[in-house]
């Protein structure tokens, strides 16, 4: 049994990213898409941390903290949007939310 | 900071930015309390008028001279690397227009008193910012600054037409906006080009009007730049065939908007010709000048005829504007001192008489909810005072001697004749006959005839307050015109002198700074 190494983390991140991307492109529910995007974001975080630890560089890990903070803020704003949209339109099915085009 | 210093003293800057400053309290005002907003606006604009009148009187009387001098606010550098600076200056050409603007604004408020029924807060802010834009454009001596003020006017006017207008307001607003923008973008290019060429000739950038006057460009280049400027101005004037935005804009705009548009905004085009179009480009081909003269004449005759067959009172007056402004451009491009004086006076005249006519249309519309001739008639019976003002303003507009319009037309046409354009003078004078034709038709369809309606409400006090000053001024200009013309004469003479000095200078093949004594004029 080999030691869990950088490549494992990398591939895990890659798989998570792909799942996230696929989810974001195929799902209809806004929240699910949102979750998928979070998944993509965190997969990138994972890769970033693993790179940093491999290279023995703290800067990458600190950067991830910032990204957590931003992701949290984004989640808050994004969910608030969805709630607002839901209140207004009674749906968060993005196929029916086409008001970006008037 | 210098700017703040200027704002706290009686200065041109204060005149220009006082309305904007006055808009700030409006931002936090309660929008439900419309009555208070109206009164606030009335007070602000009256104060603005008094302020400008005070400043003008101060400058006029300062040295005991008989003409209005060129007075500039201290320059504030802005983008020094490109020679862009905040420069305001007033002279005899802009002075009457400044006073016209500040004079007409309180009247606009009075004219909107009961005709604007919603969003007074936004309306007030639009008007205030619009005023800043207009005054700034009249006073700017830096071309970039001029351009900025020029564009600043666009948005509030767009809102005024688009929000408070009639049924087809969106169409009219968009048409107005796009038309004007299409004209002003070439002007921006021309301005930038001028600055760049100046940097080649002088070694440093400058957009200072008086400095640009010392630069001479090759004739071909002048022509292109002139076209750039002339397009913007011609659309604003509007010169035939670029006039079709005007009837739509006027018909759809609310009363106040129409008044500003006719009384002041159009004058920016003709002012632009006088200030920039003519003096900066003296070597423009004779054919081009001739073309503009011919277009002016076509405008005079064409618009008069079209006005004659209109079924909508406001549209008739809108077309009459095109005809009247045709006289102004005719006067400007005949390039004589008399015709320039006449053109300048005619700008003011048109502002007063057409402003009054638009106010009256608004008042009629409020009472009868129609502007169509078919549905009007016999107003002299229930509304004698309104009828009096309508006849009075129409006569002023038709150029009846003893009222203001005649003086302007007489000076313009005499100047044109002296300038050697004899046939043009005769054709222009035909416009005077046609003016009587369409204005009398308007009177016949509205004032005279049997009255069948039920409305009996003659002018309200605020309506009288709006019309009375206009009528008095129309009469005064007609009776003692020299008082109104004299202050501007020196500036006109200077401008034409600079023009002819530049014109008589040998044509150049590359940008050249020529020794020309503009400093004499500069303060």
């Amino acid at each position: 049994m080999s030691v869990v190494g950088f490549s494992h983390y990398f591939f895990l991140g890659l798989i998570l990213f792909s799942i996230g991307a696929l989810g974001a492109l195929t799902r209809r529910n806004g929240i699910t898409i949102f979750l998928s995007i979070e998944l993509m974001l965190n997969s990138v975080n994972l890769i970033l941390v693993s790179y940093a630890s491999t290279n023995g560089n703290l800067a990458g890990q600190i950067l991830v903290f910032f990204m957590f903070a931003i992701a949290a803020a984004e989640a808050a704003v994004g969910l608030a949007f969805f709630i607002a949209i839901y209140k207004h339109r009674r749906t968060i099915n993005i196929d029916r939310l086409t008001f970006l085009r008037w | 900071m210098k700017f703040l210093e200027l704002l706290t003293n009686p200065s041109l800057t204060l005149i220009v930015f006082f309305p904007t400053l006055a808009a700030i309290p409006l931002l936090v005002a309660n929008k439900r309390n419309e009555k208070r907003i109206k009164w606030y606006l009335l007070v602000v604009f009256t104060a603005e008028f008094l302020l400008s009148a005070y400043l003008v009187t101060l400058l006029y009387l300062k040295d005991g001279i008989k003409y209005f001098p060129l007075v500039a606010d201290p320059t504030i550098p802005w983008l020094p690397r490109y020679g862009i600076a905040y420069r305001l200056a007033i002279d005899g050409i802009s002075m009457p227009l400044i006073l016209l603007t500040t004079f007409i604004m309180p009247i606009v408020i009075l004219g909107s008193w009961s005709s604007i029924k919603k969003h007074w807060k936004l309306y007030g802010i639009s008007l205030l910012i619009l005023t800043t834009g207009i005054l700034g454009a009249f006073l700017a001596y830096d071309l970039i600054l001029f351009y900025i003020f020029w564009e600043v006017m666009l948005v509030p006017m767009y809102l005024i037409i688009g929000v408070w207008g009639g049924e087809r307001r969106i169409y009219a607003a968009v048409k107005f906006f796009l038309y004007t923008l299409a004209g002003s973008l070439p002007m921006l290019l021309a301005i930038l080009w001028l600055g760049w060429r100046f940097s080649k000739a002088a070694g440093y950038w400058s957009f200072h009007y008086l400095e640009l006057l010392t630069m001479l460009l090759p004739p071909q280049e002048q022509l292109w730049l002139f076209i750039g400027f002339a397009l913007a101005f011609a659309i604003k004037v509007p010169l035939f065939p670029l006039h079709t935005w005007l009837p739509d804009a006027h018909v759809e705009a609310p009363t106040g908007g129409s008044v500003i548009l006719a009384a002041v905004l159009l004058k920016l085009g003709t002012y632009g010709f006088m200030r920039f179009g003519v003096p900066l480009f003296p070597h423009v081909k004779e054919e081009v000048i001739d073309l503009i003269l011919v277009l002016s004449l076509i405008g005079i005759i064409y618009a008069a005829l079209v006005a004659w067959v209109q079924e909508d009172m406001k549209k008739l007056i809108a077309y009459s504007s095109v005809a009247h402004l045709g006289f102004v451009t005719l006067g400007i491009f005949s390039m004589t001192e008399i015709s320039w004086s006449g053109a300048l006076l005619q700008m003011v005249n048109h502002g007063l008489s057409t402003g009054a006519l638009f106010l009256l249309v608004g008042m009629i519309y409020e009472r009868f909810h129609t502007k169509k001739f078919k549905e009007l008639g016999g107003l002299a019976q229930p509304l004698p005072l309104l009828a009096f003002f309508l006849v009075f303003s129409a006569m002023a507009s038709a150029g009846l001697p003893g009222l203001n319009g005649f003086v302007g037309e007489l000076m313009i046409l005499t100047g044109t004749y002296i300038g050697g354009y004899k046939i043009y003078t005769v054709i222009g004078a035909i416009g005077v006959i046609l003016a009587a034709l369409y204005l009398l038709r308007m009177l016949k369809e509205t004032v005279w005839g049997e009255y069948t309606g039920a409305v009996k409400k003659d002018l309200h006090s605020y309506e009288k307050m709006a019309l009375f000053p206009l009528a008095v001024l129309m009469l005064l200009i007609g009776i003692i015109p020299s008082v109104f013309i004299k202050p501007s004469q020196e500036s006109i003479l200077q401008t034409l002198k600079i023009y002819s000095v530049r014109k008589n200078y040998p044509k150049v093949t590359k940008p050249l700074i020529i020794p020309i004594d503009i400093d004499k004029e500069k303060k």
Partner: protein
Amino acid sequence: MTSLIAIVLLPFLGAVVNGILSFSNSKRAVTFTALATTGGSLVIALYTIWRYLTELSPQPIEYVLYKWLEKPLEIQISFLLDPLSAIMLFVVTFVGFFIHLYSTGYMSDDEGYGRYFAYLNLFMGMMLLLILGSNLLVTFIGWEGVGLCSYLLIGFYYKQDEPPRASMKAFVVNRIGDFAFLIAIFISFAHFATLEYREILNAIATNQQLQDTVYIFGLTLPALLALLLFIAATGKSAQLPLYVWLPDAMAGPTPVSALIHAATMVTAGVYLLTRTNLLFQLSPNILKLVTLISVATAFMAASIAIAQRDIKKVLAYSTVSQLGYMFLAAGVGAFVVSIFHLFTHAFFKALLFLGSGSVIHAMEGEQDIYKMGGLKQHLPHTYITFLIGTLAIAGFPPLAGFFSKDAILAYTYDHSKAIYFIGLITAGLTSFYMFRMFILTFHGEFRGTEEQRKHLHESPPSMTLPLWILAIGSAFVGFIGKIPFTHYDLFGKILSPVIVKLEEKAVHHDVLHEVLLITLSVVAALLGLVAAKVLYSQGPTGDERLKSIITAPLYTLLKGKYFVDELYTFVIVTPLRTTANILWRFVDQLIIDGTLHLAAGIVQLISALGSFTTTGNLRNYMLYFVIGIILLIAYTVG
């Protein structure tokens, strides 16, 4: 001469006060203001004229009020008193005052009483500006000012259909003449740098080269100015081809017709010609044109008048015809006689109009002479004064019209026999149509309704007094002119400084000739009288007999006023309106706006193509995003 200022300003003051009073309801104040201001003007004017004309050798007096414009276009508001303006001043203030007095009776029941007098006073002021102005500009201000008042007063009964239309027509047609006046102003200023009559005329008189060189279209500068001023005069003084507005102008109140459209305003053209007579004397071709136009107008209008039924229309065409006589006198170079006829005409024509007003007043607004008749008993004062006026205009000695008309014909005889005969025939026609109207109105049986008969009454003294005063004038003012067989010519003597004498061409007929000419004109007048008496003693049926005498087509032509109005509508108005409509609908909306909409449409099309991708669906956008990233990566890697 500060008194000139008072004379001019008083009526303006009256206009302002009456204008304000018209919003209240105090007729007495209006009456007082109107009469006090015009009366004041009259008294001061009489005093001024008397003082001026009794001087040994009256010199022109100029009074500069202020500078209207300064250099480079220097024009001043200034007044000029010379014999010509003194005579005009007398006519305007004298006739003007009595017509104001008459109006206080005539208009007493009108709801627009204050408005009426505001207009009328304004008219007086403007007319005084016109005649007293010492330069073209002041005259022009008055010229257009009286046009405005005429417009307002013709349209006074604005509730009816006809007056607004007629007033508009009057103003616009006048504007055509004013256009020529304006051009004359431009030219004068461009070449003489002044608009003062005296300076312009001096400059022309002293510059032989100017008189000889062709300026434009084969005309010298004086000739061009003369032509333009004459065109202006044809507008204001209702000559061919611009006379069409005057008959329609009868839609206004009758005193207005008397004052504006008979005695004063319409004679402004004659005044202008005399004022600038040097220009005309220097251009024989233009004088020839004046002669032809005037004699044609005189004859044409007189012939129309014989077939009209409306009492005021007859008088209107008669005015046009008499104005033709005045221009005829000017055309043959007899400017003094021209002004003399203006002077006498002011009396008898004002009298006739006021008399017709009195008749209309009694008939409760009826103007059709077919429905009158036999008014002699009911309106004795009107009858006698009207008779005096009719005799005067027909040219029976020794009434005023005889002297002036005879003088005109005598000068014309010297000039051209053919024109003299047309003038003579016109004199006969004048007598005929006047007596036709007179007989139909005052003699025979009453043909109106029973209702009207009950209301028949003589007018109040405020109306009959002016009638008598003007009747006395009509009877006697002729004697101040040239008396036949003598060298006595007060009028000519007074006016002689104003008229430039390039060559001596006064008429010196021998007695035989003179007797012959006088006999001819008296016979013409008598023939007209007899013809009218014979044809119309049985009432309106005379028209049928007239028709059979002059043949039906000709009668229709006369009755239809030569169909000039219809011709103008067909040739000028309709094509102009069609052109305007084409310009609007086709050029403005289709071509210009169409081009714009086309350009906008093209832009819209392009943007529509682009916006095809903008579905609004989030997943599409994400797909674009992903595709974009893949492409980007592919680009950087590959």
